[in-house]
């Protein structure tokens, strides 16, 4: 049995003659990581995203105050030692609300991605694999959803459902899946007629199995890149819905909603709406930087 240290050595990870399939995969991943690490901006993005995730998970430990505890006597206070980012229009600690708001925003992003990626993959792979009338019908449906500006369609959906966080997630998901379907379809078309798919088919595998076991895994890396780049769009759409009063509802500490409810104070107490704005900007920029770096590594066509 080989010692664990062998596997963690640079030589093993950079071996020119991998000893097994797993070994080869790890060599490829390590090379990708080295390339990614060389991109300073991408590393800034990655670290910011990690810090954000940790900070929102650890919000109860990091916040000194309850995010919904009101103190009307100390409302709209400027930043101080007691309130790092000041207090809002109801005297709530903005620092605590930003931390808890991160949970809401990241939670919405994760929920949207979990809904969108499978739907897009399923539609795209099925359309690409079967072709013909199935392809045409599904792609026409995709085009209809692509024919709307995302935010406008999301607004109409939320209006039909009822403003709130669940509706916002569903509405964003409904408007976000078409690009994934297109992507998955394009990937499927390139592998559909390859020999190994023909070989799998000859062993008697059914279509469902071929798609799930042999086509979907090949689409995953481009979907991951797309998801990361999409995160910033989802964050911005969620915040915009909140700002327009159609997303998360107060008193929930969602960043866009926080800006909407404190917008009137921008001239006198500018930090109250500005700080959540900076939070949205940093979150969305971090995902953009990360996605940009990942595209350089994972998507060979962009090189």
């Amino acid at each position: 049995m080989t010692a664990l240290s062998t596997y963690l050595s640079r030589d093993w990870l950079l071996s020119e003659t991998p000893s097994s399939r797993t070994h080869a995969a790890w060599v490829r991943r390590y090379r990708g990581w080295l390339q990614f690490r060389g991109n300073g901006l991408a590393m800034v993005g990655l670290i910011t995203v990690i810090v954000m995730i940790v900070a929102s998970l650890a919000a109860p430990l990091l916040a000194f105050q309850d995010p919904s505890a009101q103190d009307l006597a100390g409302r709209l206070a400027p930043p101080s030692a007691a309130h790092w980012f000041g207090t809002d229009e109801l005297g709530r600690d903005i620092y605590a609300r930003i931390l808890y708001g991160g949970r809401v925003t990241l939670g919405m992003v994760v929920a949207v991605v979990l809904l969108v990626a499978p739907i897009g993959l399923a539609v795209g792979c099925i359309a690409g694999y079967f072709g013909g009338i199935v392809d045409r019908a599904l792609m026409r449906l995709t085009d209809v959803f692509l024919a709307f500006p995302r935010l406008v369609l999301a607004l109409a959906f939320v209006a039909a459902l009822k403003p709130g966080i669940t509706s916002a997630v569903i509405a964003i998901a409904l408007t976000a899946w078409p690009p994934y379907a297109r992507l998955a379809r394009a990937e499927t078309l390139t592998v559909r007629n390859t020999d190994y798919i023909a070989a799998v088919r000859m062993t008697g595998a059914r279509s469902g199995r071929i798609i799930l076991r042999h086509i979907v895994p090949l689409c995953v890396s481009s979907v991951i890149v797309r998801v990361t780049l999409d995160m910033s769009g989802i964050i911005l759409t969620a915040a915009a819905l909140g700002f327009l009063g159609m997303g998360a509802q107060p008193p929930l500490p969602e960043w866009g909603t926080m800006i909407a409810s404190s917008r009137a104070y921008i001239l006198e107490q500018w930090w109250v709406p500005t700080i959540p704005g900076i939070a949205i900007f940093i979150a969305s920029l971090a995902f953009n930087l990360l996605g940009d770096g990942m595209r350089d590594v994972l998507d060979p066509r962009q090189r």
Binding site: V144, F148, L151, F243
Partner: protein
């Protein structure tokens, strides 16, 4: 032009009515899924049951869904989007009144975005990997990441409230309101046509901040695409030939490299223009700009369903047409598309 190209072009035009039909179906279904009962909106909360039943029949709501859809389609074909509860005008009239302001804002914004974005992308590609290139990359990534409403609010805070060099929200100062008779509906243009230069400068100064905010939003996208196209174009063999001929750098860059990406860029610009519609919805809300975005969000908050669906449909239609134009420009103008 080959036969297959004609066929493909026709196919892309022919797909538009189908997509449009889908779009109408989606808005119709959204309208029917609304939690607000349109009958109560018209008859009132305390209407007796027989009145409610009569209104329901008049609106055709007692018929099966496909029949209701057919009625809805029939009304649309007659240009009837119903009445707005908020303004009590037909929705089509409202949209005709609000849309020019959006067009004005979006057009000025796209011109600014092109004038800044395209040269930035070209130079960044020419000096790929340089410090300038990195700065452009960060600036355009920031443009894609900044929420438009935050940028708008911060600009108002800095340039209007603190520095006092920009006017506040709205399309024109209250003192000038209603002075210019609407011709095109685009206030700056109307003022110029009327020769009312006071109104012209006032309306023009109101246009600066919102159009800059909106321009940054699409400039980021235009710069990134221009840079990517130019890098590809500069790697072409015809560039080596041009260099060997001893042509000047400027000539190679603009005539040879840029000339080859111009058509693809037209496609990107059309898409960016369409994308501005989305940014306009938020920008208009922040700057109280009386365009279709403000109309849409105002109607949403008042649960004015005819107005919401009408505005959504019109925005979708404009978006669809711009996408089609982008597609056609690409197919018809670029000789490399087979």
């Amino acid at each position: 032009m080959t036969a297959s190209r004609v066929r493909q072009t026709l196919a892309s035009v022919a797909s538009v009515p189908l997509t449009l039909f889908g779009l109408i179906l989606v808005t119709f279904l959204i309208g029917r899924a609304m939690p607000i009962d349109p009958v109560i909106a018209i008859a009132g909360d305390h209407a007796p049951p027989d009145v409610i039943a009569r209104v329901r029949t008049e609106l055709g709501l007692d018929k099966p869904l496909p029949v209701q859809f057919a009625i809805y389609m029939g009304q649309l074909l007659h240009g009837n989007l119903g009445n707005s509860v908020m303004t009590s005008h037909p929705v089509t009239e409202d949209i005709a009144r609000f849309f020019p302001a959006t067009l004005e804002l979006a057009t000025v914004a796209i011109i600014i975005a092109i004038l800044i974005g395209v040269p930035l992308g070209v130079v960044a590609a020419w000096r790929q990997g340089s410090r300038f290139d990195h700065v452009v990359r960060v600036v355009s990534l920031a443009g894609q990441s900044v929420p438009v409403f935050v940028l708008g609010l911060v600009c108002l805070l800095v340039f209007y409230a603190k520095l006092g060099i920009a006017p506040g929200t709205g399309q024109i100062d209250v003192a000038y309101e209603g002075m210019v008779p609407p011709i095109t509906g685009m206030l700056v243009l109307d003022a110029a046509l009327e020769g009312d230069w006071d109104s012209f400068w006032n309306a023009g100064s109101h246009l600066v901040l919102p159009s800059l905010v909106l321009a940054y939003f699409s400039m980021a996208y235009i710069t990134r695409m221009t840079r990517a196209f130019m890098i590809e174009s500069l790697a072409g063999e015809y560039i080596v030939t041009a260099r060997a001929k001893g042509l000047s750098a400027t000539r190679i860059l603009w005539r040879h490299a840029f000339g080859n990406i111009a058509v693809r860029l037209v496609t990107v610009l059309a898409l960016a223009y369409a994308g501005l519609l989305e940014g306009a919805v938020i920008t208009e809300t922040v700057f109280s700009w009386p365009g279709i975005g403000l109309y849409l969000t105002g109607s949403l908050l008042n649960a004015d369903m005819n107005a919401v669906l009408g505005a959504t449909l019109v925005i979708g239609l404009v978006y669809l047409v711009l996408n089609l134009l982008a597609d056609l420009a690409y197919r018809l103008l670029d000789p490399r598309v087979r």
